[in-house]
Amino acid sequence: MVQKSEAKDNPWKYSKKLENNMDVYDELIFKYPPEISKLEIINNLQIIKKTLIRYASPLILFLILV
C-alpha cells in the first residue's frame, strides 16, 4: 500500500499549529523580490546611475567643452 510522503514525514507539523494571524516571522524572513521589491528597485537605480556615468557624462562633458 503506497502511503503519502506528507502523511508519513509530516513536514507541515508547524503549519498545522499556525493561526491565520501568526505571521510574526514573515517580516524577518521575506527579503527578496518579487515579494519585497527593495532589491529590484536598487538594481534599477544602479542601471540608471551606471548608464549615466558611463555613457551620458562623457557626452555632457564633451558638449560643455565645445
Partner: protein, 399 residues
C-alpha cells in the same frame, strides 16, 4: 470578440499551447504552435529514493556576513544561519532553549549567539556559556540547576558545496552534530556530477521570495510550455517567443536520484533544445542543449519556507560574456538581474492564483487536465504525493 484562452488540448497532440485567437483563428492554429509530439520514457527505477527531507541549498555563501545572522524557515520551523569563529556554517533552530524566545534582536559575536531576552550565551557547538548568570539561586527550586545545565541549541547539519550553503533538513534537529564526512556529503547535488563543469562557467544569481505554494513553483519550472507563452517577450533567446514555430520530441529518464526530461527538435532529433532535471527535494537544472556543450545552465533551488512561503535561488551559469571588463561596460550583471526579476514577476500572479485555488480545493482532476498530459509533471507529483514511507538522507536509510 477576442478569445484569449490558452488551449492545452488539441486532438492527437500531447501538449499544445496556442496564441490568443482573433479573427484569423485558423491561421494561428496551423502555424504558431509549440507542441510535444511524442515522448519516450526510460525507467531504470520506478521511483526516486530521496524524499521530502534531505539536503536543501539555502543560500549562496556570500549572503553570510561576519557576525550577521541570516534568518529563514523550513516548513514554518524558524531557523537561522551564521558563520562561527572557525568559519563553519551553523544552522540553528531560532528558539532559545532557555525561555523559548527568538534570537531576533540578539547578538552574534565570534560565533557566540546571545539571546535578547535574558542574555543567554551559546557557543557555536550549542552549549550555554553563562548558565550560572541566568539562574538566581534564591528564586529557584533545587531541581532547576540540573535542568538548566541541559539547555542546548538545536542544529541541523550544514555543508558548503559549489558556493551554496546546504542544510540537511530532517525530522528533528540535533543537540550534538556529528561531522561524519560520508553522512555530510550531498553528492547527488554536486554540479560537476550532472554533466557540466561548473568551473568552466561564470554565473549571476538572484534570490526570489514568493507568497505561494512551494510545490507549485517546482511544477512551474518543470513546465517547458509556459516559457514560450509567459516569458516569450522577456527571455533574450530567439528560439523562445510567442510566435515560435517549433515542435519537440520528449524523452524522459527516471532513476533513483533524479527525473529528467529532454526536449529535442522534431525535424532534427539529434539536436537538443532544453534538458530539465529534477533532483529532489528541491533542485532543478535546466540545460540549454546537451549538458556537455551547453552554453548556459540554470540552477534553481527551491526552499519551502513554510505554508504559502517559498524562496528560489536562481543561478545562471554561462560560457559567454566571461570577460569582466566587458560585462561591467555593458552592465551585463545588472541587466541580467533585471531580467530574472521580470521573469519571476511574470510567474508570480499565476503561482499565487494556483495556490489560492489549491487551498480552496479547486484543483480537482475533473477541473484541470495538465497533470494527465505532461509526463514529467506527472512523475514529479507522484514523487511529491505518493512516496513509499522511507527517507534517504545521504547514505542513511531511515524507515
Amino acid at each position: 470578440m477576442k478569445n484569449n484562452q490558452i488551449n492545452f488540448f488539441k486532438s492527437g497532440d500531447f501538449n499544445t499551447v496556442l496564441k490568443p485567437l482573433g479573427e484569423d483563428l485558423k491561421t494561428f492554429r496551423e502555424e504558431r504552435i509549440v507542441k510535444i509530439d511524442n515522448y519516450e520514457i526510460k525507467e531504470t527505477s520506478k521511483e526516486l529514493e530521496i524524499g521530502i527531507y534531505g539536503w536543501y541549498a539555502i543560500c549562496p555563501l556570500k549572503e553570510l556576513k561576519k557576525n550577521k545572522i541570516f534568518y529563514f524557515s523550513m516548513y514554518d520551523e524558524p531557523l537561522l544561519l551564521f558563520k562561527d569563529e572557525n568559519h563553519t556554517v551553523r544552522c540553528v533552530k531560532n528558539v532559545c532553549p532557555h525561555r523559548g524566545a527568538s534570537f531576533f534582536g540578539g547578538d552574534l559575536k565570534d560565533g557566540e549567539l546571545t539571546c535578547p531576552y535574558h542574555g543567554a550565551k551559546f557557543t557555536s557547538e550549542g552549549s550555554c556559556k553563562n548558565i550560572d548568570r541566568l539562574t538566581c539561586s534564591h528564586i529557584i527550586d533545587s531541581n532547576y540547576k540540573s535542568y538548566a545545565k541541559k539547555i542546548h541549541l538545536y542544529q541541523y547539519k550544514t555543508l558548503i558545496k559549489d558556493d551554496y550553503v546546504f542544510i540537511n533538513y530532517c525530522e528533528k534537529p540535533e543537540t550534538n552534530i556529528s561531522d561524519n564526512e560520508e553522512e555530510l556529503n550531498p553528492n547527488k547535488h554536486e554540479l560537476n556530477k550532472h554533466g557540466f563543469k561548473a568551473d568552466e562557467y561564470v554565473f549571476e544569481e538572484v534570490l526570489v521570495d514568493f507568497k505561494c505554494d512551494w510545490a507549485r513553483i517546482i511544477e512551474n519550472h518543470l513546465d517547458i510550455l509556459h516559457i514560450f507563452w509567459v516569458h516569450g517577450d522577456t527571455i533574450p533567446d530567439k528560439d523562445v517567443n510567442k510566435n515560435v514555430l517549433t515542435s519537440f520530441n520528449q524523452k524522459i529518464n527516471i532513476n533513483k536520484d533524479f527525473i529528467e526530461s529532454i526536449y529535442s527538435y522534431k525535424n532534427d532529433p539529434s539536436k537538443e533544445f532544453i534538458r530539465i532535471k529534477f533532483i529532489p527535494p528541491g533542485r532543478i537544472l535546466i540545460y540549454k542543449g546537451d549538458p556537455s556543450k551547453s552554453r548556459y545552465v540554470q540552477v534553481l533551488d527551491h526552499i519551502p519556507l513554510g505554508n504559502n512561503k517559498a524562496r528560489v535561488i536562481v543561478r545562471h551559469y554561462r560560457k559567454f560574456m566571461k570577460n569582466k571588463i566587458m560585462r561591467n561596460l555593458v552592465l551585463f550583471e545588472e541587466i541580467q538581474r533585471k531580467t530574472f526579476y521580470k521573469i519571476f514577476n511574470e510567474d508570480y500572479m499565476i503561482l499565487k492564483t494556483q495556490t489560492y485555488n489549491l487551498k480552496l480545493d479547486l484543483l480537482k482532476n475533473d477541473e484541470i487536465k495538465l497533470l494527465g498530459e505532461d509526463k514529467i509533471i506527472k512523475y514529479y507529483w507522484n514523487w511529491y504525493k505518493n512516496q513509499k514511507p522511507k527517507i534517504i538522507l545521504g547514505n542513511i536509510v531511515r524507515n
